[in-house]
Symmetry: C2
């Protein structure tokens, strides 16, 4: 094993500034383009008008043009009669007003008396209803400055000002080289060890959003010479090149050597998380970046480094994300060694913005999809306490966040369907669910972090669902229980049930490998309830400590063959084509503070839940009884 | 004159909702596209993953995979020695971890002892550094809902989840028909009466921004049959058609008849300003809009109507503009009959956002270019008083507005150059100037609405510039006078000076047609000073009442032949190729509250003013003396 472990740990801003300074000289290539094709392009020079607009005096109204002196003394009692051709001419809006006329009377103020005679009841003032030459734009006037991204209205003003071509910065062509012997194209037949190359497609989208033009090269296997040839070609064809990945310290990670071989490596390793193994280099005067392989690391390096490189290239400061102040719902720990970017879920609950950290794994693509924003935890900060006010960089519109129902608690596949149907029905509303288990939902209600909490909590004494938990934990709040579905919980087992499991007591009996749910999940409590009832100690369950956080991921673990069984709902087993041994029926309901029942979006949600389309979906999934759906129990 | 004057005055929201309801049935055409080409497209169905990601258990680190049982008891004192092949295999990040192994130890925690032996100092926990199957995405999990605009990260998650094609709403093809005998293509040789067709190009840009695909037809002259054929063709080729203009009540405005002829007109005329003469119709089940001809009216109808039609077509709510609370600097009067959109200039001065209405003319394209936002004055509201807190819909980023130096006062062509050079030097800073004349600048300082005020105010008694005015009007403030330029004021006259004007007294003597500057302009005060000195009464000046608000527009009026002369600076005359009769030298300086001298953007501005590049530009313009530029006089 000859692995190189030598990344540096440059402070991020320092590294970036050093790099931008090094590559600064290659920037700002200009070209001349047609004004009408300049939408979104960045001006390289200030644009001054070449002609005035209007370039002659013209009528601002439909009406007649005449000399104001002919109208003197006109009144209701003594109208003035005027003759076409002799006294006036008819003009439409925009028609030129010749020098012998000095005003326009609008058509609404005119009474026709015959074919070519009219009368008026009011005298006209000189210059009324005339747009004088240059009223809008005067020749040689500044229309837009340099370094300005052209908008539709700018195109209008430039064309009106006689400017038909403008000088803009070239959009950089960004070469994207995906590397790795394990990479395969999307749509390939997959075998174990393959990784679908989706990173390079995300990069293409990001490059477009930053104003560059992406050029994706084919996947390059981990072969130094092949990669070298591809990199040479990309550098000769493009303005900026990014290589993904091979920027870490693995066996085949030789991106850094390669860049050094063909050019210069300025930085290898920055104090940022995720994103540490980043390479900033230059070959033949062109910026070359080594982007880490983990999708989340890659995303942030694109946002924080490539975006700045493209900004520099175009002489434009791209829009910064909007920011919002939020209250942190949970403590965040962070390393003193790194500037850390934490993806956050935001909820607008009870007039406060609540920010909750999402999964921090660098491989968690879905955390980027689900994120509403990011929190930057500075280097040299060890953590931030729950309850602290923090600034969040928004990844989603605040308006959308305000129109989103926050749903924290137990997971069931119907939540996804509900979220989708709500948004289809009322396209300004959203449902965002976080899967913390039923007790997590109760705690979120207690802390006023959620609008609704889906729960299925079995009272071990009474055998009743949900109500006793609300009474116990939320006694100082007014909570309604909106009835959801009765669903079948059972053992999710391999297709064909090879171990012939029949009940929970078979798990230890047949030494089946089990996968559990996380602490606080209602399904875990259900297991514990049965273990107690059956007098089985948890140590006898092989896999009691292995946790998954949704029914689907339990089913996926069974489907993979890693484990033999798990406890979950029928629909999850069915989706994965697995077998299912029913254990019991349970009540999956929604706890909602009474005040939120009045919110329009919550009303819409329960409308959807009652709708025949939704009930049809429940039938399709199977395993649900919805006989008392949306009945409200005030507690 | 057979003009039709019959527009209705529908309340805007009512009209729009009625229309959207009428055309609703044509919406939501779907198509299947490749996921990798779906950036910005709107999902027509919720997207669920087809495979898990990772779809096998894999290593989260570069290191070795092994069974944790082999590490039990390892410590600093009693390292455990392991052999490659027998005890472990080497894995890179992402490599599969076979079923016989249950953990990964990272490379940093390993010490090589020989070619295929290592030692470790710490036992490993089961599942450490392994990314289990489905850790990121579980098969059948919801990735993105329907009605969602695809972002780069969504493309990544979909491809990772094995989703290679998705169903999206079709982007509407929007036909744009410019009509009008007076219209000519940009770049044509212009003659009086021609109007450059820039509207259709602005529409193209707007359609792209709303997510549609523009298809621009050639200009159609005002001929009913030709227009009818073009409209028929556009309706058959496109999904939505807009006609511009012919929506008002002029002689050749038959768009409404034409739509009624081929289909249905639902609405003609809405209570909105600008934008009243709007037509909403439908032909062959396709939405057809008649857009007013005035550029500002057209812009708002595109924003307020076409944008909603495209939103409906794509099943997507497009982003609403950000809003900001601002203090209105001047009273706004508005008609009770209309919902009115007023373009606003915003300034961030002394921690307050100040909103000042821009020109309200429907032809003022530049007011759209210059606008930072819009204020909606509701129907049935007569006006809003100065000092009122109002909500502004932003057209520009608030961050940019905060980084903009507000400059209200006297106009000089050097301000444009200064604005541009500042932004080139420091691309996050902007200078925005409003031309209200010197006294307007003094008042803006008094009301704390501007950072700097360019002034040239001659004390009629002392003959001194600027200082006495600051002492008189701003005595309760700490103001510094930053010296600007001495500039030559004089008579701007026709090329060759056909009337042989030699001085101000020649204006009445030779009955020259004059154009004046607006009240409060320093240049107007200068004229008044000379008229008083020369004992000429203003009535003797032919055109004393005709006002322009910049030097350039005075020069443009002279160049057009409408007037014979005006008072202004040399550079304006020179830009327009006119002759110039010097009258006097005056001091054009910048009054700045002392506290603002410390703002970084103000410091940058004066750095630019002192720079040799800027002084070179002054030399190019001619007529400026900059011997004491940027000297500061504390008053």
């Amino acid at each position: 094993m000859a692995q190189k472990v030598y990344l540096s740990n440059y402070e991020f801003k320092e590294a970036l500034n050093k790099y931008l300074e090094k590559i600064g000289s290659v920037f700002l290539n200009k070209e001349i383009i047609n004004t009408e094709e300049s939408l979104g392009r960045v001006t390289a020079e200030a644009v001054y008008s070449k002609i005035s607009s209007p370039f002659y005096n013209c009528s601002a109204m439909d009406g007649i043009a005449l000399h104001s002196s002919k109208t003197i003394g006109a009144s209701e009692k003594r109208p003035v009669i005027l003759e076409e051709g002799k006294d006036y001419i008819v003009v439409d809006t925009g028609d030129p007003v010749l020098r012998e006329y000095d005003c326009v009377i609008m058509v609404e103020d005119i009474v026709n008396i015959d074919q070519n005679k009219i009368q008026i009841y009011k005298s006209a003032a000189p210059w009324q209803n005339i747009r004088p030459l240059g009223e809008d734009i005067v020749e040689n006037q500044l229309i837009i400055p340099s370094g300005h991204a052209v908008r539709p209205v700018d195109i209008g003003a430039m064309l009106a000002g006689g400017v038909n071509t403008i000088e803009v910065y070239k959009k950089p062509l960004v070469g994207i080289i995906p590397t790795g012997t394990e990479l395969v194209e999307p749509g390939s037949d997959l075998k174990v060890g393959d990784i679908i190359d989706f990173n390079s497609r995300v990069f293409s989208g990001q490059v477009i959003e930053y104003g560059g033009i992406p050029k994706r090269y084919g996947i390059v296997k981990d072969d130094y010479e092949v990669l070298k040839e591809t990199l040479k070609r990309a550098v000769s064809e493009c303005d900026i090149v990014i290589i993904n990945a091979g920027s870490s310290a693995g066996r085949e990670d030789f991106t850094s050597d390669l860049i050094a071989d063909l050019g210069t490596v300025y930085i290898h390793g920055i104090a940022i998380k995720p994103g540490k193994p980043t390479i900033m280099g230059q070959i033949d005067n062109k910026p070359v970046l080594g982007i880490p392989g983990y999708p989340v690391s890659a995303y942030f390096i694109m946002e924080k480094v490539l975006k700045k490189v493209i900004e520099g290239y175009q002489g434009l400061k791209l829009k910064e994300p909007q920011r919002v102040e939020a209250i942190l719902s949970r403590r965040i720990m962070s390393s003193l060694k790194y500037l850390e970017f934490v993806r956050m879920k935001l909820g607008y609950v009870g007039n406060k913005v609540i920010a909750t950290p999402l999964s921090r794994g660098a491989g968690a693509t879905m955390s980027l999809v689900r994120a509403d924003g990011t929190l930057e935890v500075p280097q040299n900060v060890e953590g931030i306490e729950a309850g602290t006010k923090v600034e969040i960089n928004l990844m989603r519109d605040m308006e959308e966040i305000k129109n989103t129902i926050v749903c924290i608690g137990s997971h069931d596949p119907v939540l996804d369907i509900l979220a989708d149907m709500l948004h289809v029905k009322s396209n300004h509303y959203y449902l965002s669910s976080a899967h913390t288990g039923s007790m997590g939902g109760i705690m979120a209600l207690k802390n006023e972090e959620t609008h609704i909490a889906p729960i299925h909590l079995l009272d071990m004494e009474s055998g009743e669902y949900n109500i006793s938990y609300i009474n116990r934990y939320l006694k100082d709040k007014k909570i309604a229980l909106v009835k959801g579905v009765k669903r079948i919980q059972g053992l999710i087992v391999q297709k064909g049930n090879p171990l012939s499991l029949k009940s929970i007591s078979d798990i230890p009996a047949k030494n089946a490998r089990f996968v559990n749910r996380q602490r606080g999940a209602g399904t875990r409590l259900l297991l514990d309830y049965y273990l107690r009832k059956l007098d089985i100690s948890p140590e006898r369950i092989n896999g009691y400590e292995r946790e998954e956080i949704t029914h689907l991921s339990v089913a996926a673990a069974v489907a993979s063959g890693d484990v033999d069984c798990g406890l979950g709902v029928y629909s999850a087993a069915d989706m994965m084509g697995l077998d299912f041994i029913p254990v019991c029926n349970e009540e999956y309901d929604f706890a909602v503070p009474v005040e939120y029942l009045e919110l329009d979006m919550i009303k819409e949600l329960f409308q959807v839940m009652k709708s025949s389309e939704f009930l049809k979906e429940l039938d399709k999934l199977g395993g649900y009884d919805y006989s008392d759906i949306c009945e409200i129990v005030y507690i």
